[in-house]
């Protein structure tokens, strides 16, 4: 029985995390930025689950559960805030939300 080695999972997780950061920095639409953040959290989940599998433990999987739930709560709050922003100014482009520049 062959296993995918741990390092592959960790590399994939690092790549996904880096993609999330890149999306956060370069994307202009708030919803896409928000999805990039979710991608970062899921990259972390992947590495938790991979470690848990490697270590034959359940802690890491439980951690992933908690991350999922927190991400859902954060997404709900985030979408609510995005909705009020949109109601107040009718745009979701991040460069146009700048009433507080210096």
């Amino acid at each position: 029985m062959h296993h995918v080695p741990l390092s592959w999972y960790l590399i994939l997780s690092a790549i996904l995390f880096a993609l999330g950061i890149a999306g956060f920095i370069y994307r202009k639409n708030i919803i896409t930025v928000f999805m990039s953040i979710e991608l970062m959290l899921n990259a972390v989940n992947l590495s938790f689950v991979a470690f848990a599998y490697q270590l034959r433990q359940v802690d890491g999987q439980i951690y992933a559960f908690f991350v999922m739930v927190v991400a859902a709560a954060e997404a709900a709050v985030g979408l609510a805030i995005i909705l009020t922003v949109f109601k107040n100014r009718k745009t979701l482009q991040i460069d146009e939300i700048d009433s507080m520049k210096l």
């Binding site: 062959h2 296993h3 559960f65 999922m68 739930v69 859902a72 709900a76 979408l79």
Partner: protein, 118 residues
């Protein structure tokens, strides 16, 4: 190199090749005679009346958000279900406390009339 995945690779390649080959073959042998009736929706519902990227009511977003939260929270009940016998009364009490907190949220949602559609 993991070898157990070879059939999946082969399957994936075949799955990608089949529609391409079928469409190419059909294009080569069929006659070309377009008309309006061919382009209409055929026994698959009605003609769309507006763009599919139109605006939705805010209510849909609220309900979707509530669904996401209450749906994801139930993930904590699964570990309890798996270890139901070992956890015994402690597990039941913990799950009760957890559900009580969810009920508080539910009561708040109802009293705020978020689910009131009239």
């Amino acid at each position: 190199m993991p070898s157990g995945y070879l059939p999946i690779f082969v399957f994936a390649i075949l799955a990608a090749l089949f529609p391409v080959a079928a469409l190419l073959l059909a294009r080569l042998v069929r006659p070309s005679a377009p008309n309006a009736a061919k382009l209409s929706a055929y026994e698959c519902g009605i003609e769309p009346t507006s763009q599919s990227r139109g605006r939705y009511s805010v209510r849909f977003f609220l309900v979707a958000m509530l669904f996401v939260i209450f749906d994801v929270e139930t993930v904590f009940l699964f570990p309890w279900a798996v270890r139901y016998r070992q956890l015994g009364w402690f597990g039941i009490a913990e799950a009760g406390v957890f559900l009580a907190f969810l009920v508080v949220g539910y009561v708040w949602v109802i009293r705020k009339r978020v689910l009131d559609w009239s």
